[in-house]
């Protein structure tokens, strides 16, 4: 295995510079409490004016009055490191961001895809250049060695373990990323290079410096395994597009929406997942409006997701201008594409049912498409229920009962018909004493004067006060 280490010496600064239109103007990142501001890092033009990291802000202002200052955010730095880890994940399946300001990736397995190391390294450099991150790259048989070599000099590449040993033996102890203060202390003890350190008896080294130092050395030289915390892509998607101006119409949101969904689908196909529920957040100057998009099954087809989101979006009134659009997807379930016969003679522009269902739900409402299933209650109004989604419940069998009407009225209505003819009945129904919805009814099949067959009930034993509950159709 060969490991490449990308050292990012100015991660925090680059992250700020890359979003500024004029990165050449003097700029400094500022940290520390309000009374004791000091410079975290400075860009080249500020350094040329004499500004240095660690300098007090007041001193910096004295040197260069027009310096632009931006507050340093450690969280943002970590976020950008994760971003670069995600970027590196495109080039290798083993990526680690466990050391600050560095990304380590396994390179050898990628040679077949990206070509030999010089070409691969060139590719990495070009992409980092485009992303706007200053970097130093080194290659070595162990990840720790790559890390150390990248700190030593840009572009070092060592492939063979023997060559690595020779190379490492010449590394100054202070630059070997030794744990804690060990580097400084060894230097003061008169040890210059790692080679000298390795020549010392291990036992006494362990007593003086602890086990960490020996572990570090072993892993550095590849004599012990070096378990890395590998980067795993996050299992949610969160992306945001800021508008250049205040948007007050739906149409202006459609383009960024399409971009976001395109990104989401690319991400989903990398993960081989789908999306079932996501939120479109319309950010206003103050507060935000959430548009929830829910699907009954996981999908990842950009065109379909766009159409659904568009329908949902258009049902939302924009009361305040929108300044940014954000897409948040927390649940990314596995995606199972619908099996389709190659020679399936389907009409053009055909949709399969899940797509059609989502289209209908997006426009008509989430609860507008359902199937029916019988339920166990003898009361007609409770003897059925709606089934949403892909539930298998409709296969339940209703118990055998006398004929039931095809249509049930949502509410029984009084039936006034002088020429009502009773066709069959009564069927007595007494039920529901346990839940307060007590029903005592005599059901009859009746025919109205207009020839309709209805299902009506009266109080037990009565012949008056007909209530119509359904139609036989």
């Amino acid at each position: 295995m060969l490991w490449a280490c990308i050292l990012l010496p100015q991660l925090a600064l680059d992250a700020v510079l890359r979003r500024l239109p004029d990165p050449e103007t003097p700029l400094a990142l500022v940290e520390g409490p309000a009374q004791l501001r000091s410079l975290h890092s400075v860009n080249e033009s500020a350094a040329a004016a004499g500004l240095r990291a660690g300098m007090r802000l007041a001193a910096a202002h004295a040197l260069l009055a027009g310096v632009r200052t931006v507050a340093h955010e450690p969280a943002a730095e970590a976020r950008w490191q994760r971003f670069l880890a995600a970027w590196a994940y495109r080039h290798s399946s083993l990526v680690s961001a466990q050391w600050p300001h560095a990304i380590v990736l396994e390179a050898q397995a990628s040679f077949r895809l990206f070509g030999p190391w010089p070409r691969f390294a060139q590719r990495l450099r070009e992409e980092l250049q485009t992303l706007g991150f200053r970097h130093r790259i080194a290659l070595a048989p162990t990840p720790r060695a790559a890390h150390v070599l990248a700190g030593l000099r840009d572009g070092l590449a060592v492939r063979r373990p023997e060559a690595l040993r020779t190379m490492l033996d010449g590394v100054p102890v202070r630059r070997a990323a030794l744990p804690g203060e060990a580097g400084e202390r060894l230097q003061r003890m008169g040890l210059e290079h790692l080679g000298q350190l390795r020549a010392l008896p291990r036992d006494s080294l362990r007593r003086r410096f602890g086990l960490d130092l020996l572990d570090h050395l072993d892993r550095l030289y590849g004599e012990a395994d070096d378990p890395l915390q590998c980067y795993a892509p996050p299992d949610h998607f969160d992306s945001r597009i800021e508008m250049g101006y205040e948007v007050e119409t739906h149409t202006a949101l459609l383009f960024p929406l399409r971009r976001l969904l395109g990104d989401l689908c690319t991400y989903l196909s990398i993960r081989d997942g789908g999306v079932q529920r996501f939120v479109l957040r319309l950010e206003h100057e103050e507060g935000h409006t959430d548009v929830e998009v829910g699907l009954l099954a996981a999908e990842r087809e950009p065109g379909m997701l766009f159409e659904l989101s568009r329908n949902r979006l258009e049902r939302v009134a924009l009361e305040k201008p929108v300044v940014a659009l954000r897409l948040l997807a927390r649940e990314l379930p596995p995606f199972v594409p619908a099996a389709r016969d190659l020679f399936d003679p389907r009409p053009q522009q055909a949709l399969d049912w899940p797509q059609l269902r989502e289209r209908l739900r997006a426009r008509l409402g989430d609860e507008s498409v359902y199937r029916l299933a019988p339920a166990d209650d003898p009361r007609p109004e409770r003897a059925w229920r709606r089934v949403f989604g892909e539930d298998d419940a409709p296969h339940a069998q209703a118990p055998g009962r006398p004929p039931r009407p095809a249509w049930l009225l949502p509410q029984p209505v009084p039936l006034r018909d002088g020429r009502l003819r009773v066709l069959s009945g009564p069927e007595r129904l007494e039920s529901g004493w346990w839940d307060g919805q007590d029903a005592r009814r005599d059901y009859y099949v009746v025919e109205t004067a207009r020839g309709q067959r209805g299902w009506a009930y009266v109080a037990p034993g009565a012949r008056e006060g007909w209530m119509l509950h359904g139609w036989f159709a």
Binding site: Q349, L356, A398, A406
Partner: protein, 204 residues
């Protein structure tokens, strides 16, 4: 060879036709499950890829019973049937008792205006084999759209409407009107064949 067949019967069954009187239409309709109706219709059943109109004096005169054999057969075969904005609640135990596999029966709730859109979407999608709708409008253009959608989606469309629309022209391939006095269905129009003169009394 000794069997003697009456020419009239063969003509009626369209196995023999008179030269010069047009080609016989293929009897590839969706069997309705009512022998008398199948025999009367030129396709031998409900026309496929087309709109069928049922004109009713009121709800609950046996329109579902008329369609039930077809719907039961389709759902049992794993084909999807959709009810778009039915006027009442479809009562699950009754439909199941009628032989419908409820797993393949979908119900869509929609306002009248959206219902037409949903009806057309279902027809056009090709994901359903029969769609029942209750369009309120008398607009022939809307019906034409449905007819075209049914054709492009390879689907049987059933529009259940009030019989007062019977006097208006319609692009539907088949129009059946229920005559409450005679408890019978009268074919008002059928594409590709003669309209039977007598109303059909179907047992259901």
């Amino acid at each position: 060879m000794g069997e003697v067949l009456a020419l009239g019967e063969m003509l009626a069954a369209r196995t023999v036709w008179r030269a010069g009187q047009g080609v016989a239409t293929r009897r590839d309709g969706e069997p309705s499950g009512h022998a008398a109706l199948d025999a009367a219709l030129p396709d031998g059943g409900w026309p496929r890829r087309a709109l069928t109109e049922l004109l009713l004096p009121s709800d609950g005169v046996g329109e579902i019973a008329l369609l039930l054999p077809t719907l039961a057969r389709l759902t049992a075969a794993g084909e999807r049937v959709v009810l778009v904005a039915p006027p009442y609640l479809p009562y699950a135990p009754s439909w199941q008792a009628g032989g419908i596999d409820l797993g393949w029966l979908e119900v869509i709730e929609a306002e009248p205006k959206q219902a037409l859109w949903a009806f057309e979407q279902c027809l056009r999608s090709g994901a359903c084999s029969a769609v029942l709708g209750w369009p309120q409008t008398g607009d022939a253009r809307a019906l034409r759209r449905l007819q075209v959608a049914a054709d492009s989606g390879d689907c049987c469309a059933f529009a259940l409407r009030d019989r007062r629309h019977a006097v208006n022209a319609s692009p539907a391939a088949l129009r059946l009107e229920y005559l409450p006095g005679e408890h019978a269905w009268q074919v008002r129009k059928c594409r590709g064949g003669q309209v039977p003169a007598q109303p059909l009394r179907l047992a259901h």
